[in-house]
């Protein structure tokens, strides 16, 4: 997903490249429901629908925000920090090819939008089982405009980080670090679940966790493979690395589980796969398949131990967004600076004689993390001035499905009595 400014003459459409970008967009859009199941399986059944809705709603709210102004801020002509309003409401976005490649402009806008949608949804993992739904909706709406769009500009939209030479193939900084830092801030501002650290809060349906994982991996082929914006060798490389790296992470994670816990857990395997996917994201089109496997194996370690440790801290990042996406994203973003190779489409990294790249990568990590932290904090504080972010404790105890949505995920209708029409 290399950046570009709007180019001059229209580029003719290539059917093959367009076919792949169409499919990739659909695949990335599937990841948001998939995330809902990954997250939803990990919460208690009384909060299942709320957790699912935190993902599904992003498909509505963030899509509208993106079409209205987000895409324009990220990719319309403008400066190194922000695009202009030239493409607000997708004005001037047609079906011709352009600087992004021989694919319709509108499709490119939708593809980029699919990234904004899932990034916002990722944050929800840190505030599940307690945050009120209305403020959450406002938050992701504003966040996608005020945080996601600018960072996307910097890295992919012709902004300063891209110009600096930071490599981020499919969103290590823009998507994962960005969302993960926002998640930590959100967990701190919203506060812990009332019974966090005291009661055992267990996943109500690990099958759904694995269903989500399977669909996430499937969608991720469009996330990384599609970021080549064409059906070419780079797409193939990114695709294959998206298979190899998480496979290596999974093997590594299972070995860690086997040696440390004597049990290879299913939740662990699902987590390992996601961590591997996150790790390879910034690197997918820049490193060799062998490097991808090495990166996949390495990325397991920080996340594995962070996840073991986190529940003993007071930070109720409930579904470990930071440990998985933050640490995975940071490790991946830095390892690009180590493993990248010109021969495979990137620039040379540390291993190939260019230690400077590692430094550039670190700048990108720090810059996006710092901005995300600050802006997220401001947004949440702003919202909390208008309306409380949580429900009273006894309502939280009943579960957000009942209290926020007036529904139960699983019911046999025992003792439910029809209310006559109003």
């Amino acid at each position: 997903m290399i950046l570009q400014a709007d180019a001059g003459g229209a580029v003719p459409i290539s059917a093959g490249d367009t076919a792949w970008l169409l499919v990739s967009t659909a695949l990335v859009l599937l990841m948001t429901p998939a995330l809902g199941f990954f997250y939803g399986g990990l919460v208690r059944s009384k909060n299942m629908l709320n957790t699912l809705m935190m993902s599904f709603a992003s498909l509505g709210v963030v899509t509208v925000a993106w079409a209205a102004i987000g895409f324009s801020l990220a990719f319309a002509p403008g400066n190194a920090w922000l695009g202009g309003a030239g493409h607000a409401f997708l004005v001037g976005v047609g079906v011709e090819g352009g600087a992004w490649g021989p694919t319709p402009h509108l499709l490119y806008a939708a593809y980029q939008g699919s990234f904004a949608i899932i990034t916002a949804a990722l944050i929800s993992g840190a505030v599940v089982e307690r945050m009120r739904f209305g403020p959450y909706l406002s938050f992701i709406f504003l966040w996608s405009i005020a945080v996601y769009a600018p960072v996307a500009r910097w890295v992919w939209g012709g902004g300063w980080l891209g110009t600096l030479g930071a490599l981020d193939f499919a969103g290590g900084t823009v998507v994962h670090i960005n969302a993960a830092v926002a998640a930590v801030v959100a967990a701190l501002v919203v506060g812990s679940r009332r019974d966090y650290g005291r009661a055992a809060l267990l996943p109500h349906n690990v099958s759904f966790v694995l269903l989500g994982t399977g669909l996430l991996w499937f969608g991720w082929f469009g996330f990384n493979g599609g970021s080549a914006l064409a059906a070419n060798g780079t797409a193939a490389l990114a695709f294959v690395n998206t298979l190899l790296a998480p496979a290596a992470t999974l093997v590594c994670w299972m070995l860690l589980d086997a040696f440390r816990e004597r049990n290879i857990t299913a939740v662990g395997a699902a987590t390992g796969i996601v961590v591997g996917l996150v790790g390879i994201t910034p690197a997918a089109g820049f490193v060799s398949p062998a490097s991808a496997m090495a990166l996949g194996a390495l990325v397991a370690f920080p996340s594995y131990f962070a996840i073991l440790h986190r529940p003993r801290t007071r930070l109720d990042d409930s579904l470990d967004v930071f440990a998985a996406h933050g640490l995975g994203g940071i490790t991946g973003a830095l390892l690009v600076g180590v493993f990248a190779e010109k021969a495979w489409g990137g620039k040379e990294g540390l291993l190939f004689g260019n230690p400077g790249q590692l430094w550039t990568q670190a700048v990108a990590v720090v810059a996006s993390a710092a901005y995300s932290a600050l802006a997220t904090w401001l947004l949440l504080k702003l919202i909390s001035l208008v309306t409380p972010l949580r429900r009273p404790d006894h309502e939280e105890a009943r579960g957000l499905d009942l209290v926020q949505h007036g529904e139960e995920a699983y019911t046999r209708g025992e003792g439910a009595v029809l209310v006559q029409p109003r």
Binding site: A200, L201, L202, E261, V267, T271, I307, L308, P311, D320
Partner: protein
């Protein structure tokens, strides 16, 4: 009239049902429960969260029988549910004041005596 409540291992259910059948018990009600007793606790791990689960899946049987059948019923359960390992469960015998068969309104003995559906009431 007595109500026999038995807590047994879920995996012995079929054996117990068969034994009860042979003991001519025709009506009973079961439900899945979880029990705590002398068994070792299971440790489960979900990411960094490690929990001790002190409850085991068991099956609960509830059988209303008239006096003459009590002993046979209890024995049938004791024999068929036993594995000899800790966790085999318990049988409670409770007094009952009256029993009704909803379909017919019959009381007590009659209410728990098997009866053909079309038979005169």
């Amino acid at each position: 009239m007595k109500l026999i409540i038995a807590i047994i291992r879920s995996e012995r259910l079929n054996e117990v049902l068969e034994a009860l059948y042979r003991a001519e018990v025709r009506g009973l009600t079961i439900s899945p429960v979880r029990g705590h007793g002398g068994e070792v606790e299971q440790v489960e791990t979900y990411r960094g969260t490690r929990v001790k689960v002190g409850l085991q899946d068991k099956m609960r049987l509830e059988i209303g029988v008239s006096e003459p059948f009590v002993e046979a019923t209890v024995n049938a359960i004791l024999e068929s549910a036993r594995t000899g390992e800790v966790g085999d469960g318990k049988v409670f015998v409770l007094p009952v004041e009256s029993v009704y068969r909803i379909r017919t309104g019959e009381r007590d003995e009659a209410a728990v005596t098997p009866q053909a559906p079309g038979a005169p009431v």
